[in-house]
Amino acid sequence: MPSAIPSTLNEAPELSAKLGVGFWALWLLGMLAISAAFVAAMWWIAPQMEELPGIAMGGAAVLVFTGGLIGLSMIPYRIRQKRGIEGQMRAPYRRYMLRFLPAMLGYVVLLLLAVWYAKQAQPTGALAVVIAIAPALPLLLAIRAIFLLPREEDDEYQRDRLYRVYAFATGGTLAICTVWGFLDMFSVVPHAEMWVAFPIWAMCMGLARCFPLNANR
């Protein structure tokens, strides 16, 4: 078995795949700026959401800022693609995007409509249940898309990594929700609705991607 590995064998593309600290700092700043602008816009729009124009503005703001975040998050991938390091988006990811993005779009539309209708008509009984559950249904489709991705991933390393990231996110969500739940019970922190579990899971997943969750550490 040859022991010495010549340093020239360190793949050149692997080196140019690294985009530099400056790039990532700018990228992170851009993501934070868009998120801050979104929060500020919603702060301004929220009081006007009793009426239909306000609802439409809220919906437009969500779409514009989400589009901005998705666009910016794709830039590192696009740069790698231009440098010939990344190929075309692989089929499982393409299918994931085609499932996940329409589901989120449906969620935004149904949530805004449900909030508006509930305020206008103040439904009760079965209709209230239908209105309340409507925004959750597209989120169930989004969750389905998330868990179909590793099932359909045909690359075993990528599948292994995805499951590790999901496991980390699930552990993180359980930890945060457990601690927050007890703090909430003793009225030490503001009350949080249960639906925050999904955004917390997504946040933990983003965090997990920053860690080397490899099989051999």
């Binding site: 078995m1 064998l9 990528q158």
Partner: protein
């Protein structure tokens, strides 16, 4: 697990992308295998061995040396 994948690949004059295509995996997988961040499944290990015309234990070393040494 240690492996000689990088050396074997270089002997063929292949890039990580070439090896990835030959094995039907992603380039990131080849990189993770070469840097020892990921151990392949048994089927993938056999595909790799077959591609280079070697035995699995000639490419991968579990650093225990038990099985292949005992078999010799």
């Amino acid at each position: 697990m240690k492996n000689d994948l990088r050396v074997l690949r270089a002997q063929q004059g292949w890039s990580q992308g070439d090896l990835a295509d030959a094995l039907g995996v992603s380039r990131q997988s080849v990189n993770a295998l070469e840097t020892g961040k990921y151990d392949p499944s048994l089927p993938l290990a056999f595909r790799i061995a077959r591609l280079f015309g070697k035995r699995v234990d000639e490419i991968f070393d579990d650093e225990l040396g038990g099985f292949s040494k005992a078999a010799e």
